[in-house]
């Protein structure tokens, strides 16, 4: 077996919030192989976002103690300088999408410009490439979308735009932090299907963060269950769902089944 695309071992992220130290991530191991989809589940506040943002080097500007290792294709991520990091973000590295696409798009810039600036200059004219990206995320039919502003789009369209931005660098790995949580139920499924299609077509690895176990069951090869900054259980999705070892996982499963029963 070749080295994994993303290899995190013993990662700790301790945030200094005022006088307190929040152990947001407290010793996590996580591997993502090329072209696979890995789910991270856990209740709110269990450290999922912090884990992904630490791995993507996108933590908020807050004093924090970070230890452990994180490697992307064998290269040390945590100690990487800004320049090398920018290189990975601009081409064939990794990118990230977020729960709240409205807040994560610039309100004063047109959609076309926001996608365009994520494209690297080396690959030729941007206009056709922007159109191709919009096509890929299912926004080809939306008229004039490049000239519009984020607030003029629906939630689902905004998240598709976010995905288009993330795809602009042709990443090998996409961190998706609760990409459908803020969307209407019907739209959730469409966005998820789009993500899954891109994952297959581009052979792009995805780390998907969610508290919806149904999502994990549908599209993830492997799954990590987080509680209070630690991974309490992990393994291939099928076996984990069939036979949960940790009581916390069992409870999460139980809860999600009950919820699924309520839904039509």
């Amino acid at each position: 077996m070749t080295a994994p695309l993303l290899d995190i071992t013993g990662l700790k992220v301790h945030l200094h919030v005022g006088e307190r130290i929040v152990r947001a991530v407290d010793g996590v191991d996580l591997q993502v192989a090329h072209g696979t989809c890995v789910g991270v589940v856990g209740e709110s506040g269990s450290g999922k976002s912090t884990l992904a943002r630490a791995a993507a080097r996108l933590l908020p500007n807050l004093p924090a103690t970070i230890s452990g290792t994180a490697q992307f294709e064998g290269r040390d991520l945590l100690g990487m300088n800004e320049r090398a990091l920018r290189g990975l973000r601009r081409r064939h590295g990794f990118s990230m999408i977020f729960q709240d696409p409205l807040g994560y798009l610039n309100p004063t810039q047109r959609i076309g410009a926001q996608i365009g600036e994520a494209l690297s200059d080396e690959d030729g004219a941007k206009t056709p490439r922007i159109a191709a990206l919009l096509d890929e995320v299912g926004l080809a039919g939306a008229r004039d979308i490049v000239r519009r502003y984020p607030h003029e789009l629906s939630g689902g369209m905004r998240q598709r735009v976010m995905i288009a931005i993330a795809l602009a660098s042709a990443p090998k790995l996409l961190f998706a932090d609760e990409p459908t949580t803020a969307l209407d139920v019907t739209v959730q499924l469409q966005v998820l299907q789009a993500l899954y299609r891109l994952h297959r077509e581009r052979q792009m690895a995805i780390v998907i963060i969610t508290h919806d176990l149904a999502v994990v069951a549908e599209i993830c090869d492997a799954c990590h269950v987080m509680q209070s900054g630690r991974v309490v259980e992990s393994g291939p999705t099928a076996s984990l769902f069939a036979n949960p070892q940790h009581p916390y996982t069992a409870r999460l499963l139980e809860l999600s089944r009950r919820r699924a029963g309520v839904r039509p």
Partner: protein, 322 residues
């Protein structure tokens, strides 16, 4: 865009009318003889008294007086300054360009200066750099403009002798064309600088707060995830969004400045609206005082309109909002 401006203009008109009515009522509320209140501390010839009483319908009920006065103002008649023996509007029109020049020059320096300092402090990588900039700006802001003006005069006019101490130009000027402009600029430099430093520091403080607020927004995370350089993030994502509150504050301050920087104009003997106001108050030239107040109010209201339009230009969310 025009819709935004139009909607605000509809609100501005009643506001201005109210201000004018209130000003007139204040004038009439001055105890004693109303004609004397309008003329100031001068003996009033009987013929002139009769003229005033007839023009302002002073012997008719108050509503009639108000309507008459409003009509006068709307047609550009702000009354007559007995002290100056000239119509008030002529006085103001003579002074206004100088005040506009001073205010414009000051803000042309203050806005870029303030934005630059604000962005530097707000995006400073080292907290010490931020602290240093912020504290210096606060100290500079705390210095009153008239005192700052005097300090500048002492250094640049009296000690170094580079610039004139006061006034708007020499008593007799033989300069023409470009040389004339240069000569004027030398007189403008110190008052504009004093004003600009004060306003610039205010703008710097607001810009810094706004930049820090912008830095915490999600789209900055997206910009980082795109692999943009620090400079590109500042240029494309921080400047425009962070300048929104700055536009509001700077615009209102500019509107205010158009009413005359009283202390500064006094220190530099800059014959603008502010100095006219001071002189008029001293001589109880109430028609002129009221004229200046009304014109200043118009300036503030118009600047607020301009601010709304600029804001809408910068923020597409305002444009589509109904």
């Amino acid at each position: 865009m025009l819709r935004v401006a139009g909607r605000r203009a509809v609100w501005a008109l009643p506001l201005l009318l109210t201000i004018i009515v209130v000003m007139f009522c204040l004038l009439r509320a001055i105890p004693g003889d109303p004609v004397q209140a309008m003329v100031g501390d001068f003996p009033v010839p009987p013929a002139y008294r009769a003229l005033i009483e007839e023009k302002y319908h002073l012997n008719d009920p108050l509503p009639t007086q108000i309507v008459t006065y409003l009509g006068n103002i709307v047609s550009g008649d702000f009354g007559y300054s007995y002290q100056n023996q000239r119509p008030v509007i002529g006085l103001i029109l003579e002074r206004a360009p100088r005040t506009i020049l001073l205010a414009s020059a000051s803000f042309a320096i203050a806005i870029p200066l303030g934005l630059l300092l604000g962005v530097l402090a707000g995006t400073a990588r080292r907290p010490l750099a931020d602290k240093l900039l912020t504290t210096s700006a606060l100290i500079a802001y705390a210095i009153p403009t008239f005192w700052l003006g005097q300090l500048l005069v002492i250094v640049f006019a009296l000690q170094l002798g580079w610039l004139p101490t006061q006034g708007i130009g020499p008593m007799i000027s033989r300069a023409h064309g470009f040389a004339w402009i240069l000569e004027r600029l030398r007189y403008l430099a110190l008052p504009a600088l004093a004003f600009a430093i004060h306003e610039g520091m205010r703008i710097a403080r607001i810009s810094r707060a706004s930049v820090i607020d912008t830095l915490g927004q999600g789209y900055i995370v997206t910009a980082r995830a795109k692999g943009l350089t620090r400079g590109a993030i500042i240029r494309r994502h921080i400047l425009r969004n962070a300048s929104l509150p700055v536009v509001t504050i700077a615009g209102y301050a500019f509107g205010h400045a158009l009413g005359g920087a009283v202390l500064l104009e006094t220190v530099f003997a800059w014959p603008g609206v502010g100095l006219l106001l001071v002189d008029s108050i001293r001589l109880r030239d109430n028609m002129t005082v009221i004229g200046i107040v009304i014109v200043s109010a118009i300036a503030v209201v118009v600047m607020n309109l301009v601010v709304d339009v600029v804001y809408a230009l910068l923020d597409p969310r305002i444009r589509t909002a109904r």
